[in-house]
């Protein structure tokens, strides 16, 4: 049985106006119908551009945001329907690691107090000594010295702070850890340390991760399954290697091709799809396929009006595109001025011209 199952989860934030009486004038469709499944022991990676709703989705699982509709089934119970107190208690099994290591640690608490707080809230460990023993154990696990107990967050380096954040989640012995951009705030040379740690821990403790990141390389490195989000919805989901080998959704393709690779040889020789235009606002998402405003493969009518659903193409490879198959086999060529294709040898030709002249 899968550990976590999201069913058509929606999180809409009301947009309020007014000084004295807030009046809702619209909604931000931050997460707009996401369904996914995470198997126990797996790492699910979530990527997507800024503002597409990754964080919101992660928080929705923990109900740190109110869920507008949908189900969050964790180990058989629908969290979305739990009363507050029970939800609070079930948070022991669901933990979170935050993007900003310093910001997520209360500057006024020492490490022991930070780590003990969750234990106290869930009645883990009968007394202080017992808790301390546990804390020391976990600290060792994440690679922090025991003398860190009485120190304060600001006395640690970025990487160490993130380890504290991880330790804080670990002391509760959770089943699922949601990592919201766990390494984005860290320097390149430190990122690897934390990624290794996360992987190590998963192996030794059998953890399940939902990893949110915008760095595709990082996500790919640690994830078993990857979901690509665009404007509040999943557009593609596939096992890690498969996704990179055969991206099917036009957005995923553009994304992949835009990621710079630290290798001049590769950089000089690969073909890239450059999207035109910017991400639409989630408060006012486009109709039909959310990506149609930027899609080089956009087709008339259907893309504008009909919202594609995630459909399984191959083994565990799900794509939300009406024309995924056609694009893959080349039946449909990229058209319109929505993208340019950068072809090596410094020659860049607008796709549109090509298409126009070709027609």
């Amino acid at each position: 049985m899968s550990l976590l199952e999201l069913n058509e989860v929606k999180v809409h934030f009301p947009v309020k106006r007014g000084v004295f009486f807030d009046r809702t004038v619209g909604h931000v469709y931050a997460v707009d119908g996401v369904s996914l499944t995470i198997e126990a022991g797996q790492t699910y990676g979530l990527v997507g551009e800024s503002g597409c709703g990754k964080t919101t989705l992660g928080r929705a699982v923990l109900r740190l945001n109110e869920i507008t509709s949908g189900e969050v089934v964790f180990d058989g119970t629908d969290l979305a329907a739990l009363p507050d107190e029970e939800m609070r208690r079930s948070r022991r099994r669901l933990q979170m690691v935050f993007q900003d290591p310093l910001g997520s640690l209360n500057p006024r608490q020492n490490i022991e107090s930070i780590l003990a707080e969750g234990m106290a809230a869930h009645g883990i460990g009968a007394n202080r000594t017992e808790r301390r023993a546990k804390i020391v154990e976990v600290l060792e696990r994440v690679g922090l010295p025991a003398d860190a107990l009485s120190r304060y967050p600001h006395e640690f380096s970025g990487g160490q702070r993130q380890r504290i954040g991880i330790a804080r989640a670990l002391v509760l012995e959770p089943d699922l850890i949601i990592c919201d951009e766990p390494v984005s705030a860290l320097d390149v040379s430190i990122q690897a340390q934390v990624i290794n740690l996360l992987e190590e821990l998963q192996e030794s403790m059998g953890l399940t991760y939902l990893v949110i990141a915008h760095d595709l390389a990082v996500v790919r490195h640690i994830s078993d399954v990857i979901g690509v989000m665009y404007l509040g919805a999943l557009v593609e989901e596939a096992p890690s290697d498969l996704l990179y080998a055969e991206p099917r959704h036009p957005y995923t393709r553009a994304l992949m091709s835009a990621v710079p690779v630290p290798d001049p040889e590769v950089e000089d020789n690969r073909e890239r799809i450059l999207l035109r235009g910017d991400l639409p606002s989630p408060a006012n998402p486009p109709t039909g396929c959310r990506f149609h405003t930027r899609c080089p493969w956009r087709q008339a009518e259907r893309c504008d009006t009909e919202r594609p659903v995630l459909t399984e193409l191959a083994d565990g490879h799900r794509v939300a595109c009406h024309y995924a198959a056609e694009i893959a086999d080349g039946t449909i060529q990229p058209v319109r001025e929505l993208a340019e294709r950068i072809i090596p040898e410094g020659e860049s030709v607008a796709v549109s011209e090509k298409a126009d002249t070709g027609e």
Binding site: G18, V19, F20, F21
Partner: protein, 334 residues
């Protein structure tokens, strides 16, 4: 825009209503009544009863409030117990003085405060900065009544440069048109009178400005310091723009945003400051009238005044909000 204003105005109503209920109870719970104030040593029990009966003060508070409210709907604030004149007339009579004084004080605060705060920030840590900051703090730290006395003593008594009090020199030819002394002089061509009125405004204006001035200096300084460290100032510098453009368009314009809000909020403190300042300079505005009304337990005046002040205060804040929207495109309403 208009709709927003209307909505904001409508939203004022419940607040004001709550305010009047609270205040009515509060004011009428003040010990003593107007009788003693009216008659002084000559007052006695019988007179007190008589006055209270006449004023309806012997009735239940709820009844009194109901009556007050009903009259309010007829836009009637009642009559002052002390002067026997309609509260509204008393206000319109005295408001111009307070308004002139308040504007003068604000002008002082803004005209002196902003440059001072600006230069203090530019030369942060220099003697100019320390002087400007502590000098303006001094403004906060000197009790207004004491400042008033010192100012009078120096500029009126010893130097004789400025009048010691009042709004106009007695006997000067001034025709009353609008009640605003300076404006009247201009309207009627009696520029002497305008000039005279301005002279009379300087000392009380300074005294009243002391606190707002200090606040403006502090806010401007803090705000300029903050803006100076903003990235867009660096961008402007990187474009090689002239100093004046960088400072004017990029630094000052942004730095003044919080100053605008502050100035709006200051009007509240200006009004309470006016209570002391007007008495100290016998300026005859609302402030000194109210001070008297408190000790006279002049209920209708107090109710009317506080309603008036609250309304004014909220209106000013509305105006500030709207102005803010005008000068800061980020909060502009569509």
């Amino acid at each position: 825009m208009l709709r927003l204003v209307v909505r904001r105005l409508l939203q004022l109503i419940p607040t004001l209503f709550g305010l009047t209920v609270l205040l009515f109870i509060w004011i009428h719970r003040l010990p003593g009544g107007p009788a003693w104030a009216l008659l002084g040593e000559r007052g006695n029990e019988a007179a007190r009863r008589q006055i209270e009966e006449q004023l309806g003060l012997n009735e239940p508070l709820l009844v009194q409030y109901g009556r007050w409210l009903r009259r309010l709907f007829e836009l009637d604030l009642g009559n002052s117990v002390k002067t026997g004149q309609p509260v509204w007339d008393e206000f319109t009579l005295r408001f111009p003085a307070t308004f002139e004084l308040g504007v003068t004080a604000l002008l002082f605060a803004v005209i002196i405060g902003i440059p001072l705060g600006y230069f203090a920030a530019r030369r942060r840590g220099s003697w100019l900065d320390v002087t400007a900051v502590s000098g303006s703090l001094l403004g906060i730290c000197v009790p207004v009544f004491f400042l008033a006395m010192i100012l009078r003593s120096i500029f009126a008594v010893n130097l004789g440069w400025l009048p010691s009090g009042g709004r106009l020199t007695t006997g000067i030819d001034a025709t009353d048109v609008t009640g605003f002394a300076v404006l009247d002089g201009v309207l009627t061509g009696e520029f002497d009178a305008s000039w005279d009125a301005i002279q009379h405004l300087i000392l009380p204006g300074l005294a009243l400005a002391s606190i707002p001035l200090a606040v403006v200096v502090r806010i401007t300084r803090a705000s300029v310091l903050e803006v100076l460290s903003e990235d867009y100032v660096r961008t402007a510098e990187s474009k090689g723009l002239r100093k004046s453009v960088v400072r004017g368009r990029h630094v000052l314009r942004n730095a003044l945003l919080p100053v605008v809000t502050t100035v709006g909020l200051l009007t509240g403190s200006l009004l309470s400051g006016a209570v002391l300042t007007e008495s100290a300079f016998s300026f005859g505005g609302i402030g000194s009238f109210i001070r008297q009304a408190i000790s006279d337990r002049d209920y209708p005046v107090l109710m009317g005044f506080i309603l008036f002040i609250a309304l004014l205060y909220m209106l000013i804040n509305l105006v500030v909000d709207l102005t803010y929207g005008l000068i800061d495109p980020r909060v502009r309403v569509n």
